[in-house]
């Protein structure tokens, strides 16, 4: 029997990027906010201590900061005809755990989605005609425009201290920035990062080929910076232990380095760690949430009543909690009816590795970070004519050495031995003279790709695991083949002796790491028949439930998601503060 606790105004589930932003904004409104976090407390000084933060085995290989599958995992299959089986260890993606969430171990690449992204179906229909969108491709508009999002992107970028170069300031193109981006009201808060040799060579070559290279927008900071909350961050040292690690330098933006030092001091904020929410409780009408039930590590259950429930967990958990709580109508892939779990998408991760003459090239790839590097956007989104190509979408192409920790990052040319003295020589020769250029590409919704609850496998508490039914749609495979060829042309022109091209091919596999950018399942939109939440991220069915995360993306762009997730958090918080609190109820009438 759950022990009933005193009522709170707001319960926030999960204290990562979005939970911290929402909690901080709602505390500023004077609300009593409690955050429930299933993982432990984590902070720079204690958990990412510089003495042992740079530990590849512990953090990158054994995944110390990630969610442990023993606590919770997912089941996976490529199509509804197969039996889903559990991911017994995380491979394809790495959900976070604990305070800061996946925002602790992220890379820090901080894009804005393009104006066309937010009205994707309309955009493609207008440019190529409705017949250009395959019948089973369920891409849709977001119900917001880029212009709606701009002020909130700005807020997130200034919170995180993003280092970059604007390409478009109020419609005026800027030399050295991304010529394809939407208009910004002002420059990035910090100048771009310094560039190592590899990205510099990439940018020079790309410019010679007629492309417009620009620095990757980075939430690893190019200089010391104090954000609008008064929290100061340090300059990135290019330590090379970045993606999959916590930052010991206070240089990588995360909830820890930007919000929590302020939020944790607020007397109307309370955090309960190692407390896992079991479900959102609804009143008998099913139209109103009364709070949540959670369990602590001793197995004690608590009922936390609240007037407003905001789901800010990892995107898979937000979808799962809504399924477990009966909020929304589960998607039926056979009829296409229902919305909860629909439009689950991923990110097409393509890569080309160039092997250069070791006598002439020394890239020192151990000098780097998750978001240091140079990019081009000529093959992203609809920046190129898709008319004759037979597919839609594209990706951001970038040379971004994230480090060269040697258990994981010591590629050898194709055909090299995998052990013995021959392997040693090939690996030693390639270690400093290989260079990777990736294309992080779009993933478009497909009728057969969705999330629901697994009928067989359960977590340690006996609740059904999330079941992922997903495979790469033909459109995305064609796109990957095309963009990877374009990337390979650049790497060849850079002077590589040998090239290893890795476009995404075949069926989605849970085994190799690809990207943690899983998105969708509770799409946002203006039409309740194709979306779970309205454009303010408020549930259509239960208006005092909001959810903030990549789960609200209707499909994925050829960009990393965190910039957009952060902007959506500020936009949802603003809607709650300026509109919902004045008149609690639906913010959009369908």
């Amino acid at each position: 029997m759950a022990r009933k606790l005193p009522r709170k105004d707001v319960v926030v589930i999960g204290l990562g990027w979005t939970g911290s932003i929402i909690a901080n904004e709602l505390c500023d409104e004077g609300l009593d906010v409690v955050a429930l976090e299933r993982g432990p407390w984590r902070d720079t000084a204690t958990d990412f201590n510089i003495g042992y933060a740079p530990d590849e085995l512990r953090y990158n290989v054994r995944q110390e900061l990630m969610l442990r599958p023993a606590q919770e995992t997912v089941t996976a299959r490529n199509n509804a005809g197969q039996t889903a089986l559990p991911m017994r260890q995380f491979g394809s993606f790495h959900p976070g755990n604990g305070v800061g969430g996946a925002g602790v171990h992220w890379a820090g690449i901080t894009w804005r989605f393009s104006p066309a992204d937010f009205r994707l179906r309309s955009h493609y229909t207008e440019r190529y005609g409705a017949q250009s969108i395959p019948e089973d491709m369920t891409i849709q508009d977001w119900g917001v425009t880029y212009e709606d999002m701009e002020p909130y992107y700005d807020k997130f970028e200034y919170l995180a201290g993003v280092s970059g170069k604007a390409g478009n300031l109020n419609g005026r193109m800027q030399e050295g920035g991304n010529p394809f981006e939407g208009a910004r009201a002002r420059e990035y808060p910090n100048p771009p990062m310094m560039q190592t040799y590899g990205p510099t060579l990439f940018a020079e070559t790309a410019a010679n080929m007629g492309y417009k290279p620009f620095p990757i927008p980075s939430s690893l900071l190019s200089r010391t910076y104090t954000n609008p909350l008064g929290v100061t961050m340090g300059q990135c040292t290019f330590c090379g232990f970045c993606t999959n690690y916590g930052c010991a330098n206070y240089s990588k933006a995360s909830a820890q380095t930007t919000v929590l030092p302020v939020l944790m001091r607020k007397s109307n904020f309370e955090l309960r760690t190692l407390c896992e929410v079991l479900k959102v409780n609804l009143d008998p009408s099913g139209r109103k949430a009364t709070g949540v039930t959670y369990i602590d590590t001793s197995g004690n259950e608590y009922e936390q009543p609240a007037d407003l429930v905001v789901l800010c967990a990892f995107m898979l958990d937000n979808v799962r909690l809504m399924l477990l709580s009966g909020i929304g109508t589960p998607y039926d892939h056979q009829t296409g009816k229902g919305t909860l779990g629909r439009n689950f998408c991923y990110q097409m991760a393509n890569q080309v590795v160039g092997f250069f003459d070791p006598a002439k090239y020394n890239f020192n790839n151990f000098i780097g970070g998750g978001a240091t590097g140079m990019a081009i956007d000529e093959f992203n989104n609809d920046n190129f004519d898709h008319g004759p190509l037979g597919f839609l979408g594209g990706g951001s192409t970038r040379c971004a050495p994230i480090g060269a920790e040697p258990i994981s990052r010591r590629p050898t040319p194709p055909g090299s031995p995998t052990w013995g003295s021959g392997w040693k020589k090939a690996m030693r020769d390639s270690y400093l003279s290989n260079l990777s250029v990736g294309c992080e590409a779009s993933s478009y919704a497909n009728r057969g790709n969705f999330l629901d609850l697994d009928p067989t496998y359960t977590d340690r508490l006996g609740r059904p695991l999330m079941r992922i039914t997903f495979d790469f749609p033909e459109n995305d495979l064609k796109m990957s083949a095309y963009v990877t060829k374009k990337v390979a042309e650049i790497v060849r022109a850079m002077g590589a002796q040998q090239i290893d091209e890795n476009p995404r091919t075949g069926h989605w596999s849970v085994v190799p790491y690809q990207s943690t950018h899983v998105v969708g399942g509770t799409a946002m939109g203006m039409d309740p028949s194709t979306s779970v939440v309205n454009p303010y991220l408020q549930s259509w069915d239960v208006p005092n439930v909001f959810t903030v995360g990549a789960n609200v993306f209707p499909q994925n762009s050829g960009y990393n998601p965190t910039g957009t997730v952060g902007a959506l958090a500020f936009r949802a918080a603003d809607a709650i503060r300026s509109r919902y609190l004045k008149s609690p109820g639906p913010l959009v009438h369908a």
């Binding site: 105004d9 609300l31 009593d32 902070d43 000084a45 958990d47 003495g51 042992y52 740079p54 530990d55 590849e56 290989v61 599958p69 023993a70 996976a76 299959r77 490529n78 039996t83 089986l85 559990p86 991911m87 017994r88 260890q89 310094m194 190592t196 040799y197 510099t200 040292t237 290019f238 330590c239 232990f241 330098n249 030092p261 944790m264 001091r265 007397s267 109307n268 904020f269 309370e270 309960r272 760690t273 190692l274 001793s298 020192n364 151990f366 000098i367 040697p406 258990i407 010591r410 995998t418 052990w419 013995g420 003295s421 040693k424 030693r428 270690y431 596999s509 849970v510 609190l581 609690p584």
Partner: protein, 260 residues
């Protein structure tokens, strides 16, 4: 519900009364539900709840008695590590770098028991895209795999054990295992056992020396990885120039140790 529709009794909406309530709160502080750091905690109004040493630093693995392997098993693992990473003009062997010690200590810890992984049934054969579904922990894979390898050698190599084979014979057998051309008795296939020990040997060779392998940063010196220096700002713009400072590990460097 518009404001005018709000019920007259009870709390119409806490959103309008909460400020008063929280200002009245005086009991600010850290309340731990349990003394142990592994249990649920309530934190409020305290600032950042720094708890020094909350996360355990790694402990230096020292050579010494085997914690998982039997002496016989350890001898075989060392013999394999010596072939996967042979001594040559580039480095000492995987055995001399401590790879077997590394694997032994890993198998005694959470890695060996898969305690952090999802180990609930039902266990059923899946597709290659669904990942490993066997339910065998690394500890069991080594115990069973080494036993099967030994039996295979005695049966097919004229009664010799693996460690008694010539270097060429060892390489031939390992190559055949890698190519899935050898059949082991028992639950662990030759090809999967080869993959397991190759992966763990490489982990030991390249991981921080604190875990018992990569003795004296031998692999890092070989390839030019500077280890845990953590600050390369002065070298970022030195394009195409060799980085010349020697590597540093979590435990420092041997020439930092007190001499004599």
């Amino acid at each position: 519900m518009t404001p005018s529709e709000r019920p007259k009794t009870g709390r119409p909406s806490v959103f309008h009364t909460s400020r008063r309530r929280f200002l009245a709160t005086t009991a600010m502080g850290l309340v731990a539900l349990s003394a142990s750091g592994a249990h649920a905690k309530i934190l409020f109004g305290t600032g950042l709840p720094w708890d020094s040493g909350a996360i355990e630093p790694p402990r230096q693995v020292l050579p010494g008695p085997w914690t998982f392997f039997t002496a016989r098993e350890a001898e075989m693992v060392e013999a394999i590590a010596e072939r996967l990473i042979p001594a040559d003009d580039l480095s000492v062997s995987g055995k001399d770098a401590g790879c077997a010690v590394f694997i032994d200590r890993q198998l005694s810890g959470h890695y060996g028991s898969s305690e952090r992984l999802y180990m609930k049934g039902p266990f059923q054969q899946g597709l290659p895209t669904q990942g490993d579904q066997s339910g065998l922990t690394p500890a069991v894979r080594y115990r069973q795999g080494l036993k099967a390898l030994d039996e295979h050698c005695r049966r097919t190599m004229g009664g010799k054990s693996f460690t008694e084979l010539s270097p060429e014979q060892k390489d031939q057998l390992l190559t055949a295992m890698e190519k899935d051309e050898v059949k082991f008795d028992g639950p662990v296939s030759a090809v999967s056992f080869f993959g397991q020990i190759l992966k763990n040997t490489m982990e030991g060779f390249f991981a921080d020396p604190v875990y018992g392998g990569n003795r004296d940063m031998v692999s890092w010196k070989m390839i030019g990885f500077p280890g845990t220096r953590y600050d390369y700002r002065d070298h970022v713009l030195k394009h195409n120039q060799k980085y010349t400072l020697p590597p540093v590990s979590i435990g420092g460097r041997s020439d930092w140790a007190r001499k004599g």
